[in-house]
């Protein structure tokens, strides 16, 4: 298992693995899934679970510290007239409260602001770790992390729906969408049931994971290409500089995707909660 992108390059061809290097000919060492695998620095066991502390664990811990630290600091003594960090924090709070909770869930939305707020800023920070120098791995590009988040959302909205609509009413609304001629239910009911209860949490997790995974892989690929093509030839310089330019452009694009995917995940969580609270399909 490689610990970083350059290590993966060395592993496949050595440090001199370069385009047009006749001494050490090697193909382009395209980074693959292995760049998301990290060596564990510490292994221990709690109960029957083996814990492998890797770079991803540290990135997760760093994200938690950043999010909790920033908002505890920003909202430590809120002033009537905000300034500095409180101002920034308030923009985030009002964005989630007005833009997501009240917008999607309605007047019951205020209760879910902390839930949605925590998801948005934790995921955004974890995504941002993909471009933070030295961290350079989005924690959300490790599938287990989005799965954990999607699981929490799933375990929130399903009991919430049963609690607020009643069990039968909740599953009836899910299985028999209104406004459909009854024979259609033979076809629709299994589809709806599978789509809502099984596919929905899966896509919720995969959407976030795949976006961050693909983005990170793209940046890694062009970064490796910039290294691989770098040689004292015209084609080498042009290729290397172009690859580096693409890697930088993709990094800028990733900043957008990071915020967008955190927002989409949070928005979908709000949509699921809203569907659980209100009976209409």
């Amino acid at each position: 298992m490689a610990t970083n992108v350059l290590a993966s390059v060395f592993a496949s061809g050595g440090p001199n693995c370069h385009f047009e290097n006749s001494d050490n000919p090697c193909g382009f060492p395209a980074p693959g899934a292995e760049i998301f695998q990290f060596d564990s620095v510490l292994t221990f066991q709690i109960g029957s679970i083996d814990f492998n502390i890797t770079k991803v664990t540290f990135v997760v811990i760093l994200s938690v510290i950043l999010v909790v630290g920033f908002f505890l600091y920003a909202f430590r003594r809120p002033r009537l007239v905000p300034k500095g960090a409180q101002n920034v924090g308030e923009v985030g709070y009002l964005f989630i409260r007005d833009g997501v909770a009240r917008e999607i869930i309605g007047k019951d939305g205020d209760k879910f602001v902390p839930f949605l707020f925590s998801f948005f800023f934790l995921i955004w920070t974890m995504n941002f770790m993909g471009i933070l120098p030295f961290a350079q791995i989005p924690a959300t590009s490790v599938f287990a992390i989005p799965v954990a988040f999607a699981l929490i959302v799933y375990l929130t909205w399903v009991p919430l729906g049963i609690y607020s609509q009643g069990g039968w009413q909740f599953f009836k609304g899910m299985m028999f969408p209104p406004g459909v001629p009854w024979p259609m239910y033979f076809l629709l009911t299994p589809i709806e049931l599978i789509s809502n209860l099984i596919v929905r949490p899966f896509t919720h997790a995969v959407r976030l994971f795949a976006n961050m995974f693909a983005g990170h892989l793209l940046i890694a690929t062009f970064s490796v290409a910039a290294y691989y093509l770098l040689s004292a030839t015209v084609i080498g310089i042009i290729g290397s500089v172009a690859s580096l330019g693409v890697a930088i452009a993709l990094t800028g694009f990733e900043i957008l995707i990071q915020a967008l995917q955190a927002y989409i995940f949070t928005l979908l969580a709000a949509v699921y909660i809203s569907g659980a609270l209100h009976a209409e399909h």
């Binding site: 814990f51 991803v56 908002f71 003594r77 602001v113 902390p114 707020f117 934790l122 929490i152």
Partner: protein
């Protein structure tokens, strides 16, 4: 399902694998963030925002009250101003009417005074005239008597004497008139 991408030559672990330890790390991460933010940070800012809303709405209410107050006093002022203007106008009209009346009164008084003066002058003139007429008549009578006696006392045939007598008479008349003129 979790082995879709894991088609590498070596035993590369699938990217869709979900190791329990990483899952637990993810769950813990969210629980810590949710706990710290949901129980400590966000209630504070919620309270602060509510306080701010109150402050702003209170401020707006106070401003509205002040504005209403200002509006009311402005209305009162304008009413007072209008009343004052009206009063001034009525006073002015009254004054004009008064002035006209005073002028008219003065004029009529003057006219009456003039008439009185004229009347008294006329009466005096009339009295003087009648007095003069009476005196003249009396004097003419006396003169006539004197003249007659003179004429009778002297020879009437002497034309020169008659003529002289008449001349004397006329002269006496003239002197009489001069006397009256002087005596007046």
């Amino acid at each position: 399902m979790f082995t879709l991408i894991a088609s590498g030559e070596e035993a590369a672990p699938s990217v869709l694998a979900v190791p329990v330890d990483e899952l637990v790390v993810g769950l813990l991460a969210f629980i810590i963030v949710f706990g710290a933010l949901g129980w400590i940070a966000l209630p504070k800012i919620r309270k602060a925002l509510a306080a701010r809303t109150d402050a702003i709405e209170g401020g707006i209410k106070r401003a509205e009250e002040a504005q209403a107050e200002a509006q009311r006093s402005r209305d009162e002022y304008q009413q007072a101003l209008a009343a004052a203007r009206e009063e001034a106008a009525s006073i002015r009209t009254q004054a004009q009417a008064d002035r006209a009346a005073i002028v008219e009164e003065a004029r009529s008084e003057a006219r009456a005074a003039a008439a009185a003066v004229t009347a008294s002058a006329e009466a005096q003139m009339a009295a003087e005239r009648s007095q003069a007429t009476a005196q003249l008549q009396r004097e003419i009578g006396e003169v006539a008597i004197t003249l007659s006696s003179k004429i009778v006392g002297q020879s009437l045939s002497d034309d020169a004497r008659v003529r002289t007598t008449v001349d004397d008479f006329l002269a006496s008349l003239e002197s009489l008139a001069a006397q009256r003129e002087a005596g007046h």
